[in-house]
Symmetry: C2
């Protein structure tokens, strides 16, 4: 067995660091269970990186870092000494919108990766066709978002898109907003849109979609975006099953 | 005007520090709007603490700290240079359970203050009687919980209680759990219980309450606790209004 890598100049160390920072073509998955799940979901591995203490061999050429170096990349509690670099999965909004037996979710300026990940988890729970990220959203493959998705980010189709592209698809579109009627959300063949934590959806969405509200106490102004998504996606799922 | 306080030995500085750490009899509220809302909600103020830069006088004897000292207590972005110490509000579980025209929420080992605060916000949105914190929950008045509640913690009755006390109240009790039937939650005169993020409700709750499930894809194991609360509380609210 080779000695663990100890240099911060090591190419793998720097590559993982870059992947964590840049949210570009390579995704970091932390923790042995999560890494195994990503393999099972047919994600394409680039490298498995382990802390010198952590047992098990994953690929032929696992990268083994000294404990100190590994801790510089990932907190050991979350990763349990194992993380892996995968190719970013590529889905298109069209691919998500093609599935007409369910609803698609679109997020518009949802900046908090925890909220994005929680909504990805909800999309899996209520069998939505996928999650479309409009401009201003956090990366659904950021570490915090992947953790909040509780593994769902490995399975749910996620695609980046633009307002004009979404409009061009010509599907019925509803956005969660207190100004709308408190009607039953559609069961299928529609897009449910959720806006930013502070200011709701953008002007562009207000122009191309209709509002839908959730009945609640008039003394409260708004719900957390993930709570609104939970309620509308759960209702859509229930009416789809009837 | 007096000079701002610069010493970390100052009694007020130490008292606020202690309140943040200890979650005992004194609560710290951060931000001018939040502090004003707490006054409006008739919370009992002990002192308003300002950073030397922050304008406005709140009480006759506002405590003014140097900017450096203030930053040691609170990040300035959240607080905008203003925080206040209030007496912890006291509600009892009995007081919450007395209100029979709605449901009460009980949390059992919900450790994340963000989840506790989000559920307090949901209790306000769906007009629940209050939130009962069973053993193992995060403090609903911790800074992170208050922020997640978006101000609702100022208005929603919150009480600490024990399993035996809750059982003794003799009210219908349902806990969210995948093992239960996917039935409609009660509209009123009942307690809806949500368990810990990892392992659900405790054995004690399983003994004294009935499970209720949320219909969802069999491929997903569980929902985030706040998402489950959003769905069940919203349904209860809707059937209460019919």
């Amino acid at each position: 067995m080779n000695e663990p890598i100890t240099s911060r100049q090591n190419a793998w160390f720097k590559r993982v660091q870059r992947a964590i920072r840049e949210h570009a073509g390579e995704i970091v998955i932390e923790g042995p269970k999560q890494v195994a799940d990503a393999f099972a979901a047919k994600w394409k591995p680039i490298a498995v990186v382990r802390s010198e203490g952590a047992g098990g061999t994953w690929l032929e050429n696992d990268v083994v870092l000294s404990a100190t170096l590994f801790e510089g990349l990932s907190d050991t509690k979350t990763s349990q000494g194992v993380l892996a670099l995968f190719e970013r999965p590529h889905h298109s909004a069209d691919e998500i919108l093609e599935r007409r037996d369910s609803v698609a979710v679109a997020l518009d300026g949802v900046q908090d990766p925890g909220n994005v990940g929680t909504i990805v988890r909800l999309a899996a729970a209520f069998d939505a066709a996928g999650v479309i990220l409009l401009p201003g959203c956090a990366d659904a493959y950021a570490s915090k978002a992947i953790r909040a998705s509780a593994g769902a980010a490995l399975h749910v189709p996620i695609a980046a898109s633009k307002h004009a592209e979404l409009a061009a698809a010509g599907r019925p579109m509803l956005y969660a907003d207190a100004s709308g009627p408190t009607s039953q959300p559609p069961a299928r063949d529609a897009v449910l849109i959720f806006g930013s934590e502070g200011s709701g959806v953008s002007k562009e969405i207000r122009r191309i979609a209709q509002p839908i509200a959730i009945a609640m106490s008039p003394r409260v102004e708004s719900l957390n975006v993930a709570a609104a998504a939970a309620i509308l996606l759960s209702r859509s799922y229930e009416s789809r099953r009837r």
